[in-house]
Each structure stands twice: as C-alpha cells, then as structure tokens.
C-alpha cells in the first residue's frame, strides 16, 4: 500500500491543492457542506445512475453471452440497452461532479479518486468499442453464434471493469492519507 501514499504525496505537490481549496470556498460547495442531507441525496442519485448503467451493461453482456434475453435479436437488445447506458452516464457524471465539489480536497488529493477516474475513462472507451463491435455483427449474430469469442470475453471484462469503478468509488473514503 506504500505506493498509494506516494501517489497522494505526489498529488500534494501539484496545483490541485490550491485549486481544490479554492473550490471548497465556492458558494455551492459551502451550501453542500452546510446542509446535512445534501451530500447523501447526491450520493443516492449517483448510486441510482450507476444502477441503471450497470444493470443495462450487465443485461447486454448476458445477451452477448447467450445467458438471457434470447427472445430479442442482438440488434434489438443493443438499441434497448445502449440508450439507458449513455443517458445514465450523463446522470452519473453530473451527480459525480456535484459530489466532487462537495468535498474537493478529500477527492482531488486522493490517489484512489484518480485511480477511479482512470478506470472510469477505460470503462467508457471500452463500452464504446464493445457496443461498436456488437453493432458491426448484429446482422449475422444469431446465425453464427460461436464465432464471438473475443466479444464474449469483452462482455465479461466490461462488467468487471464497472465493478472496479464502483469499488474505487467506495474506497475513496478509506484512502490512506
């Protein structure tokens, strides 16, 4: 765990310190800090957003793996879940920004926060690539079911990735500082 301390130490030497301190003085940050229910409300919205995103991702992956959703064609499943995934991402990022403003120093000077953001970006890019490769194959998908080894691996990987992002979120509060 030493490297986490080092990473946080590194963050302490960046302009992020001054920036995060400035954000803590924003009127909105002060408002969030001084209203007891404000932070849990936005945390709940954040949880609800990841719930929609994660469940849709999971269902799409289960369809790719042939475990569930077999009554609908791959093309229909993709259009159905894709919409919810990306709309939920907007709500996820919006509520996340509010949470960032609510505790700027605790987040920005925190190695685990930046690891989480890194994993989030990987998960977003991976989701895009995953959905694109499904889209390219929808026409022949249900005809040649066994030729999608890479996509099946991707279906598992994307679920694991989002779990890692959630784990990162939970561990921000337990970061060694």
């Amino acid at each position: 765990m030493d490297w986490l301390f080092h990473l946080t130490e590194l963050l302490r030497g960046t302009p992020l310190v001054e920036f995060s301190l400035r954000v803590s003085d924003w009127p909105f940050a002060l408002w969030l800090q001084s209203h007891f229910y404000a932070i849990p409300v936005f945390q709940t919205l954040h949880i609800l957003a990841i719930s929609v995103l994660f469940a849709s991702t999971l269902m799409l992956s289960l369809r790719v793996l042939g475990i569930s959703g077999q009554d609908q064609s791959m093309a229909v499943a993709l259009t159905r879940h894709r919409r919810w995934i990306w709309s939920a991402l907007v709500a996820l990022v919006a509520s996340g920004i509010v949470l960032l403003i609510s505790e700027p120093v605790r987040n920005m000077i925190n190695a685990i926060f930046w690891i989480k953001i890194g994993m989030l970006l990987v998960a977003i890019v991976f989701s895009l690539a995953f959905q694109r490769s499904i889209a390219r194959r929808t026409a022949t998908w249900d005809v040649s079911i066994d030729e999608h080894a890479a996509l099946r691996a991707g279906a598992v990987a994307i679920v694991v990735l989002w779990c890692a992002v959630m784990a990162g979120g939970r561990w921000i509060a337990y970061a060694p500082v």
């Binding site: 709940t44 609800l48 569930s68 159905r80 919409r83 919810w84 561990w171």
Partner: protein, 169 residues
Amino acid sequence: MISNALWQTIENSSFSSAIASSEWMFPTIETLHVVAIVTVIGAIAMMDMRLLGLSSNRTVRAVAHDTLPVTWIAFGLAVVTGLLLFVSKATSYMVNPYFLWKFGLMALAGLNMAVFHRHVSKGMDDWGTPGHAIPINAKLAGALSLALWAVIPFCGRVIGFTLGVYYTA
C-alpha cells in the same frame, strides 16, 4: 431496542470483532454490498420502467424472466454482505432510525412485489405485450417500487453519516 443484550452479544462475538477491527474487511464487504445493491436496484428499475410503459417494445413476461434471476442472485449477495456489516456494529445499527426505516421500506417493497406477482400480474400475457395499454394497478406497482428503491439507498447512505449519533437510553 427490545433486546439490546442480544445485539451486544452479537457485536462482541469474536467473529464480529474480527470484521470491526480489521482495516480492510469492512470496506471490502461494503464494496460487495454496493455492487449487489446497485445490481438489485438496476434490475428492479428495468422491470418497473416496463410497467410504467417506458421501453415497452418487449413483453412484460420477457423482461420479468430476464430481471428476476439477476435480482434474486444480487439480493442474496446483498443480504449476506449486509449481515456481515450488521454484526460488526449491531448495537449502533439497531438504534439508528435510518437503518430501521431502510428495513421498513424494504419490507414494503417486498410486499409490493408479492402483491404484483400474485394479483396485479394477472392477465399479463394480454396487457403485457407491446402496444397494449398497461392497467393502472400495474403502473402503480411500478411507480411505488421505483420510489421505494430510490429511498432505500438514501437511508443506507445516511446510516453511514449518523452511526454513533444515536445511543440506547
């Protein structure tokens, strides 16, 4: 609460103390609890939104068939991890009003689900096909479920901010 001694005994067991005193156990179990509850809420919301007539180009039966196994498996994980979290701080949880609210609301959500499957879902193969009007009772069940499952994680979050605020008299 009625039997504070019981919660005290549970909390003081070596098993509970191991979780409470470990640096990584509580956060790790909590992480699994979050992943489980996120899956439960997302899967239930999918069914609720279908009942409300959103994304209704699929039969209600098909949506239920897909979401129920995911819901129950994830709920099982949430219960196991939740119990482990509970025993480590049993006395603090049992005096916390948000904890008690959370369980009251979960019981309501379970009741709503039972009533839906026993009564409201009757004739689902007719009204639950794309293009058919959804009966008001089914819509209400969906709306109630969505509302309950939005407030339940809120109570869960507030517990984390209020542990140690409440004490037994």
